[in-house]
């Protein structure tokens, strides 16, 4: 694994037509991956579009081969968009290999490999990008933004997209160099399991921190009268600070598990809050 960013010139490809420039084009074409997302075959058109620079280099003016290749990549595809260049790189390597010897190459393996990688990749990609990185970016961004600091939105975008575009670019080359052998290599090494485990630790800890910082409620009312009166909220804080938001979180989590839809739940909570304000059960914080 010494020269991953260098193009592997010797072993895999005898008649090399793919170079760095073309792989960079594939990367650029991968950016609007979800632009043409559709309910029928999802990312298929975006995938086919991203393959075009490579297919042109490989098949040139051979209309017949071009036609088959385009149709091949119009098949259903869907995974996390940020890691799409990994299967794209693999597909490019396989198409190139196929063009060397179309008679003996098992063409259906191109689709098999890209489909096989789709599920595991979406699992890891979704949990890392949606569950971890977005939460980090949102945590840092919103904590500044709610105070009116313009750095909030800027940091939000950068924290999310610098790793995103970096990884997307790098995976194009990794996918191409590893070709079809990628999947077996990764599964044997067990790297992905560890990364997913580590990422879910970070994601969940930050989710807990943000729940703590951003979810708040305060009860009204006192026990006793006059100067001896104790605020109910003070008693609750004595038990454990933040216990009310934590209980609320638990209830909401339970209801979602019971297949409640988020939006009706949101409107229900709003109505309850208005009722609570009317009967002065809860008070606004600050």
């Amino acid at each position: 694994m010494t020269s991953k960013t260098e193009l592997n010139k010797n072993s895999l490809h005898e008649r090399q037509v793919i170079n760095k420039k073309i792989l960079r084009k594939v990367f650029l074409h991968s950016i609007p991956m979800e632009h043409s997302w559709n309910y029928e075959r999802m990312m298929n058109l975006g995938y086919c579009y991203a393959m075009i620079p490579a297919l042109k280099a490989i098949y040139g003016d051979d209309k017949e081969q071009m036609k088959e290749a385009l149709q091949r990549h119009m098949e259903f595809y869907n995974t996390t968009p940020y890691v799409i260049t990994l299967p794209l790189g693999i597909s490019v390597a396989m198409e190139e290999k196929r063009a060397e010897d179309p008679e003996h190459f098992d063409t259906s393996s191109i689709s098999t490999v890209k489909t096989a990688i789709m599920g595991p990749l979406a699992g890891i990609g979704d949990s890392f990008f949606w569950g971890t990185l977005r939460i980090l970016a949102t945590g840092v961004g919103t904590s500044l933004a709610v105070k009116g600091n313009v750095l909030g939105p800027i940091l939000f975008w950068l924290i999310y997209n610098v790793p995103h575009f970096g990884l997307r670019y790098w995976l194009t080359f990794l996918g191409y160099n590893m070709g079809a052998n990628f999947l077996t290599k990764v599964q044997e090494s067990g790297i992905m399991d560890k990364l997913t485990y580590g990422a879910s630790i970070v994601g969940l800890t930050v989710a807990g921190a943000m729940t703590s910082e951003m979810v708040y409620m305060q009860v009204a009312g006192k026990i006793g009268t006059g100067d001896d009166a104790t605020k109910i909220q003070a008693i609750l804080d004595g038990i454990a600070p933040g216990i009310l938001p934590l209980i609320l979180f638990g209830i909401v989590y339970y209801l979602l598990k019971k297949k409640w839809k988020p939006l009706p739940l949101m409107f229900l909570l709003m109505l309850l809050c208005i009722a609570a304000a009317y009967f002065k059960v809860l008070v606004a914080v600050e």
Binding site: H164, A207, M214
Partner: protein
């Protein structure tokens, strides 16, 4: 003034819907759209603040699996614009924005359900002829068609609804705005619960409580907790691996 704002809001909403075109880089999120709406309305600071608050209310609104999320951008843009115009705060933006997001979610689902598939089939026909240019052209059209079909609704709602909404906001009883203020603190719980549902399992569940109480007892802020969480994750992953595979892992990520 109103006309200029309407046009700029139209452009802004159009761009927000091009998130897929820009690599799904989250440009349509509330934290980005709030400040830009603020810029249009001449009050960036309020826009930033409202955007940040709405981002938390909408934190669960991402499309994972079969869940069709509310349209964050339309709710943020109209919510922020009306709130700034009425001189109100984030709680009013949430109250205005949520219903808008729900309605637009339905409209968008219809447009995105029909139009991209239509042009994808046209791309199919070009693929059958081996015409790569035709495929590319339809890739672009497939994404822009639904945006063109629906984006005008948001500036139109701003143009025609502006006065009515501002008058309405002036006549709302106080307990309702107080209620919405309370709700602003409570609604993010839904988003965090959805998020936790996605990544929570028995093995990592304690870390949620670690993050929660680190903040409650020490008040160190989310960024600090994130730094500690990364350190803890690295240590735990290293401890839990029996074979010395970590070398390879580091190699892989130094490269970019």
């Amino acid at each position: 003034m109103l006309v200029t704002q309407t046009i700029l809001i139209g452009i802004l909403y159009f761009i927000s819907q091009m998130d897929g075109f820009f690599g799904t880089s989250l440009i349509g999120r509330a934290i980005i759209m709030g400040p830009l709406t603020g810029l249009i309305m001449g009050d960036v600071a309020s826009g930033v603040m409202i955007g940040g608050t709405l981002e938390l209310a909408f934190i669960g609104a991402v499309s994972i699996g079969a869940y069709d999320p509310p349209d964050v951008a339309s709710g943020t843009i109209l919510g922020t614009a009306f709130a700034i115009k009425a001189g109100a705060g984030p709680e009013v933006a949430i109250a205005m924005g949520l219903p808008v997001s729900t309605i637009m979610q339905t409209v968008i689902a219809i447009a995105w359900g029909l139009l991209p598939t239509l042009f994808m089939h046209r791309a199919d026909a070009f693929a059958e002829k081996g015409d790569a240019k035709g495929v590319s052209r339809n890739m672009f059209v497939a994404g822009f068609a639904p945006i063109v079909a629906v984006f005008w609704i948001v500036p139109a709602a701003y143009y025609f609804g502006s006065d009515a909404v501002v008058n309405l906001l002036g006549n709302i009883p106080e307990f309702i705005t107080t209620g919405m203020d309370i709700a602003a603190g409570i609604i993010p719980a839904i988003g965090f619960a959805m998020l936790a549902e996605m990544i929570m399992n028995k093995k990592v569940a304690p870390f949620f409580f670690l993050g929660f109480f680190l903040i409650q007892y020490f008040g160190i802020g989310t960024t600090a907790v994130a730094i500690f969480a990364v350190i803890i994750a690295i240590v735990i992953v290293q401890l839990s691996s029996n074979q010395p595979q970590t070398k390879q892992e580091e190699d892989g990520f130094d490269d970019f």
